[in-house]
Amino acid sequence: MPLVNGGKIVDDSFVKLAVDTPLPEGGDILVPAERFFGEADVLLKRSGKVGVIWPNNRDIAELVPYLGKVAAVALVFPTFRDGRAYSQARLLRERYNYRGELRATGQVLRDQFVFMLRAGFDAFEVKKQADAEAFMQTAKRYSVFYQPTGDGRITALHRRMQLRHSEGVGT
């Protein structure tokens, strides 16, 4: 499964651990939330980076005390139609000011890229190679946005205000 980060297909430095996979010596790891809480001290003392795989039915606020210590948070889309992780992503970015890697995992298709980018994701485990390759093209599909989100894109309402004011200045 290709990983897109920073708009490009990249190698994934993280290894995903299950609840009971033996802990590797070094290297970057992504661990399930329940394991992370059980072994946080040990995990965070290792040399590699640590990221957490966060289920979409658990309150993301629980992770807040650790946000400065983890290198990545992977949110889960168990199916294309389950949109809970969009709320979690916005909360992480906009309420809890999380600035590390925010990764979309699970059923990630090109048709969600724009929504995901707007919600604050910056890394994507894309299900299909063709979708990963089309990432940049798809991400640019829209130029108009009606809602303000943490991504900082200007909304249509405010774009109109700007246009109106610049017209006012010009005439």
Binding site: D82, R84, D111, V114
Partner: protein
């Protein structure tokens, strides 16, 4: 009318081009049907019994004549020459080809209409009073706010994959014509003591297999905070709404399971985090949207023009005028409801020819504006009273002057088993038969206001729970069986109907309705006591007795 600007047009065009790409990937097999299904639903494309069905949004029920002509064009070029107006200010085409859909969408985009979010588990078309902006006594035009909410909920990055569909309706009149109490969020526009505009917010209404009347969650939310308040409700719903069972996924179930107090606390907590954010609407932004709604240059006209006085001699005209013409906020003008319920016709259908002709009439007599109401009728919102006789003649020629608005033959019906893949029983033939039974206008008038609503399955698209008489089609041992309720209503006093007894067969439904009506005529205290009031006074028993005495 709200005028799209370059920004709105760009978005719609970007959406069309995205969907064109999605259809292409589907037809080439790059996307499976399972993957594509959500994408097509987000663009209003269902698979029905005979073909794909295509649902186009008519936000808050306002249509310009060039938009109506574009709908006629789609009916003619891509479909079979007609369309069906729904209870949520949408129009449906029943025979569209998937391969041609991107072209149809492109043609609609040219006049600023689209099919975004007309199905799927996202925020649907924002609906409102079809008399918005013209009804006497209205507090303020609710369409300004409808449009702000429409924009905010279009392609929302957080709420496009909700547990289930989500519908918002807004009214600004005492009499609720938008059925806000059967919506996921109902907004009643009001003013506070300072004269500032805001909303009473209701939540958790809906029909379907578990019907609920919406409950008030907050008595006053200031207009500037309405987007953040809606966002808070949606965020709570998106996270906690049930996703394990499609029948329990609507917000009404979450509200019911948590209780309105707990639910409103969750919303309040969330709201406090986001109300002072960029979601807050400043006056300038609101005024910008307001400025893009244009209103006709009304003339100063007499209350009772000569044309109207003379036409009063024609009993047919008078019958229509008394039934279909309502007061306008401006003297000398009227609101004209156009019944899409001709005797023997499918409720809510209009042919391409009728759509085109109506557009011409709206240009001539209604400042180029047409409205669509949730009762599946249309309206011309600004007709000078002096033009009423001429308009009536023209409508009559088109078969659009049936004087039955709000009467027993003004039936709401879903498409039922004739079109719908979910239906268990037919709805339209029941409606057709009832319109024939009660075709006599004097009889219908004698009966007075009486709404019959028919659904062909438990999903309740025909709003049977809130019909004064509700008819629900089910299937039993391979046969169509109909359950009858009475006492429902969809207005400001919304209530769910009560079942009167065992279901009846297809060919008994009209007889049963006749029995109910006869019982009402015999039981009412005076002619002014409406069916609803008699049912309220006496309960269902006397009606039940009458219906089942001989069955």
């Amino acid at each position: 009318m709200y005028a799209y600007d370059e920004i709105d047009r760009t978005l719609v065009n970007e959406r069309v081009s995205e969907f064109r790409d999605q259809v292409k990937r589907r037809l080439s097999g790059e996307l499976t049907e399972d993957e594509f299904k959500i994408l097509r639903l987000q663009n209003g494309v269902y698979l029905q019994l005979h073909a794909y069905m295509f649902r186009v949004a008519i936000p808050y029920g306002t249509l310009a004549t060039n938009q109506m002509r574009a709908l006629a064009h789609v009916a003619r070029k891509y479909d079979r020459g007609y369309g069906h107006f729904t209870t949520r200010q949408n129009i449906q085409f029943n025979w569209i080809k998937l391969a041609e859909l991107p072209d149809a969408l492109e043609d609609l985009a040219k006049v600023g209409i689209h099919a975004m979010q007309t199905s799927g588990n996202n925020m649907r078309n924002v609906t409102s009073d079809q008399w918005a902006g013209v009804a006497p006594g209205e507090i303020e035009d609710p369409r300004i706010w409808s449009e702000l909410i429409r924009q905010h909920t279009t392609l929302h990055p957080e709420f496009s994959f909700l547990p289930r569909k989500f519908k918002i309706a807004i009214t600004a009149s005492d009499h609720d014509r938008a059925a806000i109490k059967i919506h996921d969020i109902g907004l009643r526009l009001i003013k506070n003591e300072k004269g500032e505009t805001g909303f009473e917010v209701l939540v958790g209404g809906g029909l379907g297999r578990t019907p609920f009347i919406a409950k008030t969650i907050k008595h006053f939310v200031h207009g500037r905070d309405i987007l953040s308040y809606i966002e808070a409700i949606l965020r709570v719903y998106n996270q906690y709404g049930r996703r394990d069972n499609i029948y329990k996924a609507r917000i009404k179930i979450l509200v019911h399971e948590l209780g309105i107090e707990k639910f409103s606390r969750e919303v309040e907590d969330e709201w406090q985090h986001i109300r002072n954010s960029s979601l807050q609407l400043d006056d300038e932004v609101i005024e910008d949207i307001r400025s893009r709604f244009t209103y006709p240059a009304y003339e100063k006209l007499p209350h009772m023009p000569d044309e109207l006085r003379q036409a009063a001699a024609d009993p047919d005209f008078e019958a229509w005028r008394k039934n279909s013409v309502a007061p306008h906020k401006v003297q000398g003008y009227s609101i004209v409801t156009i019944s899409l319920k001709p005797t023997g016709g499918p409720p809510g259908d209009a042919t391409a020819e009728q759509m085109d002709a109506l557009a011409d009439l709206a240009d001539k007599y209604s400042f180029g504006e047409i409205r669509v109401g949730h009762e599946q009728n249309l309206a011309l919102p600004h007709v000078a009273k002096r033009d009423l006789p001429a308009l009536w003649k023209a409508l009559d020629k088109l078969g659009l002057a049936t004087p039955n608005v709000n009467l027993i033959t003004d039936i709401i019906a879903c498409p039922g088993l004739d079109y719908c893949s979910l239906a268990n029983a037919r709805s339209i033939p029941i409606a057709q038969e009832l319109t024939r039974r009660f075709a006599n206008h004097e009889l219908a008038n004698l009966i007075g206001r009486l709404h019959i609503n028919i659904s062909g399955c438990i999903n309740a698209c025909g709003h049977h729970h809130v019909g004064h008489i509700g008819i629900l089609g089910v299937e039993k041992n391979g046969e169509e069986v109909y359950q009858i309720t009475i006492g429902g209503r969809a207005d400001e006093n919304a209530a769910l109907g009560t079942l009167i007894g065992p279901g009846v067969k297809f060919d008994e439904v009209a007889d049963v309705v006749e029995d109910i009506v006869e019982a009402y005529l015999a039981l009412r205290e005076r002619p002014e006591e409406l069916f609803m009031d008699t049912v309220k006074r006496l309960g269902v028993e006397p009606f039940k007795e009458r219906v089942y005495a001989t069955r």
